[in-house]
């Protein structure tokens, strides 16, 4: 354990040390304790549908190659040549039977086996056990609703347990119709000068910022005309455990991008979705959320999911996918594509303002005096309770920092504990 974590997170008072957004030793400990141990999102199955299809990503700062092998099985490896540590695959996606390292030409098949080593006979005297020098696989890999997750920790609980009660909420995002979802081709990727936790906690359920940060976007009609329906101001924040957090709207609130193709589509499938999702959907409409630590999703003004890749204490590489129901007709998919990129890409009418706030919350913490002061995440403290119907710690009111507190409580636990048994 490197960093002294005492007093960084005070959940009982809703106080958060700003040191956690800037200090390098805390960041390094996050890489070890959180990113080398937790289940992290890799990509969606529909990005690699055929044998040989691959997608390169990161788990924390470790480069990872996700590839469907020639037999159709999905694997994930460190995207690192076993010989000298060179980055093996330098393209972001494609299709391959094998990958050949650019340095000395070691070649790996798409199931990670070391296939060929130049000069094996003369220079190695045929004395290199190739079976021991394949690509390093992740410790565990599993999927939920087509979302591929992996962990580097063999002792981490199974994905199913790790997700726990958040699974129903994930179903509403990614499996509300037969066939689930697919992603639109391409990933938005951009670099934000902020600590990764600020966007992650924002997507946990910062309903508070929407009414001010994004008022300009709402007023000028991004993501559709929100004035067509009046919000009931219902909704709850729901922390289902293990740091996973969902913000919901009230059952009668508008929750879809208000463009005609989408509203008609949503109306046409409402009964089917209600039947599939069950009566819980009469209580809340899941809207935005974060799976601990760095996967987030949104389904109101746009249907997107995100990874916040840490790139040092004060940098985050944001990856953004747009998803649509696989069963939706082409014109509806097109409507979702347009509404998402206009609202929630790096140039989105909503999104472009967020980066400024996350940036400045991070950068002011460079000041040694600024970071002596605690951030305030006390909104709604004491106005939350466990709700069995919603399967989580639920706020009485939709505007609350209940979810922020649960996220950082989990953060502090995972940072401090060396054993999953204690978590």
């Amino acid at each position: 354990m490197v960093a002294d974590l005492k007093g960084l997170v005070d959940i009982d008072q809703g106080l958060l040390s700003r040191r956690i957004f800037i200090e390098p030793d805390i960041y390094q400990q996050e890489m070890e304790q959180i990113f080398a141990r937790c289940w992290l999102f890799l990509c969606h199955e529909t990005q690699i549908p055929k044998p040989g299809d691959y997608f390169t990503t990161y788990m924390g700062e470790d480069p990872v190659l996700v590839v469907r092998d020639s037999g159709g099985r999905i694997n994930a490896f460190l995207n690192v040549c076993a010989h000298r540590g060179n980055k093996l695959c330098r393209a972001e996606s494609g299709n391959a039977a094998s990958f050949i390292c650019a340095y000395h030409g070691w070649a790996y098949s798409n199931d990670g086996k070391l296939q060929a080593v130049p000069n094996l006979k003369d220079a190695y005297y045929d004395d290199l056990d190739q079976s021991k020098w394949g690509l390093t696989p992740v410790a565990q890999m599993d999927t939920y609703n087509g979302l591929i997750f992996a962990t580097f920790d063999p002792d981490a609980p199974p994905l199913d347990d790790y997700l726990g009660d958040v699974k129903w909420y994930l179903d509403v995002f990614f499996n509300r119709r037969e066939g689930g979802v697919e992603v639109i081709g391409g990933v938005h990727k951009w670099m934000a000068p902020c600590n990764w936790k600020l966007p992650a906690d924002n997507f946990c359920g910062d309903g508070y910022h929407t009414g001010w940060s994004h008022l300009s976007a709402v007023q000028s009609g991004f993501g559709g005309d929100f004035r067509v329906k009046t919000a009931s101001a219902g909704g709850k924040s729901v922390a289902t455990g293990n740091g996973h957090c969902i913000l919901t709207l009230g059952p009668d609130d508008p929750s879809d991008p208000a463009v005609p193709e989408i509203l008609d589509y949503e109306e046409s499938i409402a009964a089917e979705v209600r039947k599939r999702m069950g009566p819980r959907l009469d209580l809340v409409k899941p809207h935005v959320g974060t799976l601990f630590p760095n996967f987030s999703m949104l389904r109101s003004v746009a249907r997107v999911f995100r990874v916040w890749h840490p790139r040092g204490p004060d940098k985050t590489e944001i990856w953004n996918w747009v998803f649509v129901d696989k069963a939706a007709p082409p014109e509806v998919k097109e409507a979702f594509r347009i509404v998402a990129l206009r609202a929630f890409g790096p140039g989105g009418g909503f999104e472009q303002d967020d980066m400024d706030n996350w940036q400045e919350c991070t950068q002011t913490a460079r000041g040694v005096v600024s970071r002596r002061y605690m951030s305030n995440i006390s909104m709604g403290l004491g106005h939350e309770s466990y709700d069995h119907d919603l399967m989580g710690w639920v706020s009485d009111y939709r505007l609350t920092e209940n979810n922020h507190r649960h996220f950082y409580d989990r953060w502090a636990q995972v940072m401090a504990s060396d054993s999953w048994a204690n978590l």
């Binding site: 055929k50 044998p51 040989g52 299809d53 020639s70 695959c89 330098r90 393209a91 972001e92 996606s93 494609g94 299709n95 391959a96 039977a97 094998s98 990958f99 050949i100 650019a102 798409n110 639109i184 081709g185 391409g186 990933v187 938005h188 990727k189 951009w190 670099m191 934000a192 000068p193 001010w212 940060s213 008022l215 300009s216 976007a217 007023q219 000028s220 009609g221 991004f222 590489e317 996918w321 747009v322 097109e334 594509r337 347009i338 998402a340 990129l341 206009r342 890409g345 790096p346 140039g347 009418g349 999104e351 472009q352 303002d353 980066m355 400024d356 706030n357 940036q359």
Partner: protein, 180 residues
């Protein structure tokens, strides 16, 4: 292409750049046709077809372009209405990405003018270097190419479509809050 036309196109693009840098966004909208398509696809980092870094299993993926197609995700895919909303947003006094505003400088170069698909249209290629500085020390460099269709409307050149291709795959700026 007649020199006179080339000069006219150059002057049009320079004037447009000056209008953007002076933040006269309503005036800029007037330079676009009502049916304008303003599109910034995504650039991807892919192996070329002849790369020896991989041996290919399924050749169909090699047909993928490093520039996203029109049904893929894009950084911007706008019409006149959505561009107008972007400018409406800037006028709310709460568009935080532009408050305080960016200071931009559009450098437009490498202009080539070709005949368009119809008598009243021209196909125009150009490169751009858009420098953005903001607040105290923020700076971003947006560099890439544009492919425009300029149409003559009532004797005046107007932008009927613009494809903007940035050279970065991971956008190194924190956002896109300016026009190109």
């Amino acid at each position: 292409m007649r020199d006179e036309t080339i000069r006219e196109v150059e002057q049009f693009l320079y004037r447009e750049a000056r209008i953007l840098d002076n933040r006269r966004f309503r005036d800029w909208l007037e330079l676009l046709t009502d049916d304008v398509h303003y599109w910034m696809p995504i650039r991807s980092n892919l192996y070329p077809v002849n790369s020896k870094a991989i041996s290919v299993l399924d050749g169909s993926r090699l047909e993928e372009s490093e520039v996203s197609s029109d049904h893929d995700l894009a950084l911007m895919d706008e019409d006149k209405d959505s561009l107008t909303r972007r400018i409406d947003r800037l006028d709310t006094g709460m568009a935080w990405a532009e408050d305080p505003p960016s200071r931009t400088r559009h450098i437009i170069t490498n202009i080539e003018v070709e005949a368009g698909d119809s008598q009243d249209e021209l196909r125009v290629y150009s490169n751009f270097f858009m420098y953005r500085t903001r607040a105290e020390t923020e700076q971003d460099f947006y560099i890439g190419s544009r492919e425009d269709v300029l149409r003559r409307v009532n004797g005046q050149l107007r932008v009927a479509s613009r494809k903007i291709v940035l050279d970065q795959t991971v956008l190194l700026a924190k956002n896109l809050s300016n026009f190109f």
